[in-house]
C-alpha cells in the first residue's frame, strides 16, 4: 500500500496529468475546465473526484486516485504487477515501439496500461482492474489482455465479483494480431467467471472504444458509464469517412448508449461508490460471500 501511494508515484502521476487534454495549469494550482472554460482551484476539483464543481464535467482520473476513491480504505492489494510489454514484432513507425514503451513507463511509472488487485468495495471483497489511458492511450496489447484475464481468474478463484474500469482507445497496433487475440482471451476468462455465477461490473470511462469496447468492456452483467464518456466500436472519423456524412450531436457518448439500450446506467462519479456498493450487495446476496 505504502509503495503504491508513495511520494514518487504521486509526482509522476501529476506529470502525466499535465498532458491530459482539458486540464491546463496556468498558475500551477489553477486549472481551466475543458467544458465550461472556468478557471477553477485544482484542490477543489480533486476533492470533488476530478469533477468540475461549476459544470459537472468529468475529468479523467489518474489510476491510483481511482483505486483510492473506489476501494474501501486500505483494502487494495495489487497483484500481477510484474508483467511487462515487449516489442515482439520489432515494430517501428515514426518511433520504435520499444521507445514508446520506455517513454510511457517513464511518464506513468507503470509497466503497462492496467493495474489489477484485490480490494473491498462497500465491504464486499472484489477484484478490481483499472485501465490507464495515460499509458499509450490505454491500448490493449498482450499485457493488458493478460491482466484482465488474470483478474477474472483471481475473482473466480476467490469467488467474488470483478469490477473493471475501462479507458482505452482500443487494441495496440504495435503488437499486431496478438493484440487482437487479447479480445478473445479476456472474453474467454469472463465466460468462466460468469459460468461460476460471479458478477462482472464494467465501468466505462472516457474513452472506451475499439477492441476494448468490442470485448470485455461490453460484457458486464451490469454496465455503468460515466457521464459524457465516448464509447463505441469504430472511431468517429472512420465512420464519417465511410458513410460520408456528419455524425449527430452526442453520437457515441454515454447518454447516446443509454438511450439505445447499450448500458445499464450513467452514474455520476460522486454517486459511484454508493451505487457500486448497492449493486455488489445485491449481486452477491446469494453466493454466500
Amino acid at each position: 500500500m505504502g509503495f503504491l501511494f508513495g511520494k514518487k508515484k504521486k509526482v509522476q502521476q501529476e506529470e502525466g496529468e499535465k498532458q491530459r487534454p482539458g486540464i491546463r495549469f496556468p498558475e500551477g494550482i489553477w486549472i481551466k475546465c475543458a467544458s465550461c472554460l472556468e478557471i477553477i482551484y485544482k484542490p477543489e476539483v480533486e476533492r470533488n473526484l476530478n469533477v468540475c464543481p461549476k459544470c459537472n464535467y468529468h475529468f479523467r482520473v489518474p489510476v491510483m486516485e481511482r483505486i483510492r476513491s473506489v476501494s474501501d480504505e486500505g483494502t487494495f492489494a495489487e497483484f500481477g504487477d510484474d508483467y511487462e510489454s515487449i516489442d515482439m514484432l520489432g515494430f517501428s513507425d515514426s518511433k520504435k515501439y520499444s521507445d514508446r514503451l520506455k517513454d510511457a513507463r517513464k511518464k506513468t511509472g507503470r509497466k503497462d496500461a492496467t493495474v489489477i488487485g484485490t480490494a473491498e468495495v462497500g465491504g464486499v471483497p472484489v477484484v478490481l482492474a483499472v485501465m490507464d489511458f495515460e499509458f499509450l492511450g490505454g491500448s490493449m496489447g498482450s499485457v493488458v489482455g493478460e491482466k484482465i484475464a488474470l483478474a477474472a481468474e483471481k475473482a473466480l478463484e476467490i469467488g467474488c465479483p470483478l469490477i473493471v474500469f475501462s479507458a482505452s482507445g482500443g487494441a495496440r497496433m504495435q503488437e499486431g494480431t496478438l493484440s487482437l487475440m487479447q479480445m478473445a482471451k479476456s472474453s474467454a476468462a469472463l465466460a468462466r467467471l460468469g459460468d461460476a455465477g460471479h458478477a462482472f461490473i464494467s465501468v466505462l470511462t472516457d474513452p472506451t472504444t475499439g477492441g476494448v469496447a468490442a470485448s470485455f468492456s461490453m460484457l458486464g452483467d451490469i454496465i455503468i458509464a460515466e457521464p459524457g464518456a465516448l464509447i463505441g466500436f469504430a472511431g468517429p472519423r472512420v465512420i464519417e469517412q465511410t458513410i460520408k456524412q456528419k455524425l449527430p450531436e452526442g453520437f457515441q457518448r454515454a447518454e447516446f448508449l443509454l438511450e439505445h439500450g447499450m448500458v445499464d446506467m450513467i452514474v455520476e462519479r460522486t454517486r459511484l461508490n454508493a451505487v457500486l456498493a448497492l449493486l455488489l450487495k445485491t449481486l452477491t446476496a446469494h453466493t454466500g460471500k
Partner: protein
Amino acid sequence: MILQYLDFERPIADLENKLEQLRRGDDGTDKTVRDEISKLEKKIVKVRKDVFANLTRWQMTQLARHPNRPYMLDYINFCFKNFIEIHGDRAFHDDAPIVCGFAELEGERVVVIGHQKGRNTKEKIARNFGMPNPEGYRKALRVMKLAEKFHLPIITFIDTPGAFPGIGAEERGQSEAIARNLLEMSHLKTPIIVAVVGEGGSGGALALGVGDEILMMQYSIYSVISPEGCASILWRDPAKAEIAAEMMKITSPDLLKFGVIDRIIPEPEGGAHRDHKEAAESLKKELVQTLASLLPLPIPQLLDRRYAKFRAMGQFKKKAGGAA
C-alpha cells in the same frame, strides 16, 4: 468470371496472353509453333514460381483481397453437400455479409457460418462489401446456439475487411455484438473449426474466430487493423499501408509462428483465385481431418483445450520468471 491481374502478377499475365495468342494461331501443323508453346508454358511455371516464392506481406494482402478469390459460398459449393441457408437474427434484420446454414461435409452434418463478399458491383452492395452489422453477428450467434443444442460441429469462414463502421451499427451495439460472440464461442459446447480464407479484418473477423482449431489459407491475412487503417493512424498516410503490412506481420507464416493459428492450408500454384476447385479440395481435406480429430474429444476436454489455446496467446516479459 473474368480473371483480373494484380500489378505483381503482370509478368505472368503478359506471358499467359502471349500463350493464348499462340494457341489461337496453332492448327497443329506447325512444329515451331508447338515448340514455342511448350517453351512458353515452362516459362510461365518458372516465372510464377519466382514471383510467388518472394511475395511481400503487402502482395499477400492483395492476394487475400483478390477480386477473383474464392468466397465462402464457393467453398460451400465445392466442399459441402445439401447446404440449407438459415436467415435472420430474429430481432431486427437478415444481415447479408454473414451467411449461416446447415451442410454436409463428407457425410458429417455440420453448421457453417461465414463472411460473404460480393463478386460484382450489385452483389458487393448487397453484401455490404463483406462488412457485417451487429445483427449479422447476432444471427451467427443464434445459429451457433442451434449447433450447440443439436450437437452439430461448427465450421466458420473468415473473410471480411472488418465490422461495418456506421451510425446504425453503433446504435445497435456493434461492440456488444462482437464481444458477445467472443464470450459465447469460448465456451460453446460443440467443436468449432475456424478457417481464415481471405481477409481477417480485426474484431469483425475475430467475432467468428474463436474455436478449437484455427486454419488459414496460405495467402490470407489476419490483422488487428487493416494496413491502410494502421498507416493512416501511425504514419498519417494510408499510402504507407505497405509498410504497415510488413510491420504488423499479418500473413499465415507469421501467425503460425506467433501461435495465432494452428495450420496453413496450401493454395494452388499462383493463388486460390487461379483454381477455385483445387483450393477448395485443399481446404476440404484439412477440414475433414480436423473434424475427425475433434469429434472424439469429450466436451469438457474440448473446452479446456479451447480455453488454454486462447489463454496462451500473447507475448510479454515477467519480471520474476523471464519471457513467457
